[in-house]
């Protein structure tokens, strides 16, 4: 096949000018677009307000579809559970027996904890939960990992608020529109979370790998202290995340870096909880509701 007819307009002056003008517009527009990206380097959320239109208009569609498919996403788990029902049943029953003692112990400990706190006159009201909503869509075609939440500014969601599921941490709110919010997922390559090992509080930093994994670097010098199977929880440093939210399990250790997988899978969880930023919870701006002097340091220096 020969090439398609040339777009060159020949000797028609008017057509020549029109073609030239179209290229001028295109090149100018491309330069403006580049400028927008440069602005985004310094202020990543600067022009995010433009997204309000599309986010708000596609929200009903995404939310409706999400309601329809929310049961379908876990269908493979259900099928896999049927596959080994018998042996699984025996195993689970044994585990329940073993766990029963632990639960009784834990109840006693929490009771004792409450009594000791009362003795110390610590005020420990849990006012961190803001609302529960669903993740309705995500940036599936981009290299960044954002998910869209079905609640926004009008519901009280603010940028920087941590988002978690019952299983563990999901991420934090990046930008908000009136009824939706973009959540920067834990696995985004730009999301850094201070964590610690649950068993002995060794501090580390978790960075997203972009492919569903997490890169965990210990803050201590020397050899890598992590080994596969270690549970990591948030440390509360930095003032965004509450301490002790489960984050990841270490699966592989490679030199200085440990690779982990998030405990909460955002595509599996049914609903997520938006919490107030940890700092806002412990340092109350309202002077009338200020905690007793002992309260703040005790909470802020949580391990």
């Amino acid at each position: 096949m020969a090439r398609p007819p040339s777009r060159r307009p020949g000797h028609n002056r008017k057509a020549q000018y029109s073609l030239f003008a179209s290229y001028v517009v295109a090149v100018t527009g491309a330069a403006v677009a580049l400028l927008l990206v440069v602005v985004a380097i310094f202020d990543p959320t600067g022009f995010a307000g433009l997204r309000t239109i599309t986010a708000e208009s596609t929200r009903p569609l995404s939310a409706g579809l999400k309601n329809m498919v929310s049961g379908v996403s876990s269908v493979d788990e259900v099928l896999a559970a049927y596959w080994r029902a018998g042996s699984q049943n025996v195993g689970l029953r044994r585990q329940v027996e073993a766990d029963r003692n632990h639960i009784i112990e834990a109840k006693a400990i929490s009771q004792e904890n409450a009594r000791l706190k009362k003795l110390l006159k610590l005020v420990d009201e849990d006012q961190s939960d803001l609302l529960t909503a669903r993740l309705i869509s995500s940036s599936a075609s981009s290299a960044r990992r954002f998910a869209r939440l079905n609640a926004g500014r009008w519901q009280g969601v603010r940028p920087g608020m941590p988002v978690r599921a019952a299983e563990g941490l999901i991420g934090r709110v990046h930008t908000t529109t009136p009824n939706t919010a973009e959540v920067l997922l834990l696995t985004d390559t730009g999301n850094i979370v201070p964590v610690r090992r649950a068993s002995d509080s060794i501090p580390a930093i978790s960075t997203g790998g972009g492919d569903g994994s997490l890169e965990i670097r210990a803050l201590s010098a020397g050899s890598n202290p992590f080994k596969p199977g270690d549970l990591l929880v948030t440390s509360g440093i930095g003032g965004i995340y509450q301490p002790n939210i489960p984050v990841a399990v270490v699966v592989r250790v490679q030199g200085e870096i440990a690779w982990g997988f998030p405990i909460a899978n955002p595509s599996r969880v049914d609903a997520v909880v938006v919490e107030r930023a940890f700092e806002d919870v412990v340092t109350r701006p309202d002077p009338a509701a200020a905690p007793p002097p002992g309260g703040v340091p005790a909470n802020a220096t949580a391990p």
Partner: protein
């Protein structure tokens, strides 16, 4: 009704409305960009950029349809739907369209394979450019290996998309 095929008499001589002629390609590109609104929480860059694929299909199918500046409004919409920084697809799509205009004159023979080659190069440029923009706007260390699978099946998907565009195009010009 005797024969249901008699119902669809092609009405030659009727010109399709302007809205259908000019609006259909734009709407299909917008719909392609809007596929990110599906309730799918992806853990990696898994979904091909359908907006870009549809744009390339129309551009290669109908060179006379658009001027290069069409990449600006369509790219802006794609940026609003995807998680990329605003301006990323705007810039990349427009530059890609200008680039296709440039190389089109230099190719003597054109067939379906050359179209696929052009689209493949355009997809690679746009995805790598998107990763670069994501990296400099606070995305941290995004490795190119992460988007390699996406690149591969975007290129493999092009023949399918261009065929659907041709099907829509037939409906578009037949009144």
């Amino acid at each position: 009704m005797i024969d249901r095929h008699l119902q669809h008499v092609s009405r030659l001589g009727h010109t399709p409305s302007r809205l259908r002629l000019a609006g259909t390609p734009i709407i299909t590109v917008l719909l392609g960009s809007m596929l990110t609104a599906l309730p799918l929480i992806a853990q990696s860059a898994a979904m091909p950029p359908f907006g870009l694929l549809v744009l390339l299909s129309w551009r290669l199918l109908r060179p006379e349809l658009w001027r290069a500046w069409i990449g600006l409004p369509l790219g802006l919409f794609d940026d609003m739907m995807s998680g990329q920084p605003i301006g990323s697809a705007m810039f990349l799509w427009t530059v890609t369209l200008i680039g296709i205009d440039l190389i089109e004159h230099r190719m003597i023979w054109r067939s379906y394979r050359q179209d696929w080659l052009i689209a493949g190069l355009a997809v690679i440029v746009c995805i790598i450019g998107g990763v670069f923009f994501a990296r400099i706007t606070g995305g941290g260390d995004v490795r190119l290996l992460l988007v390699a699978p996406q690149m591969l099946w975007t290129i493999l998907l092009f023949p399918f998309v261009v065929r659907q565009c041709a099907r829509i195009d037939r409906w578009r010009v037949m009144a």
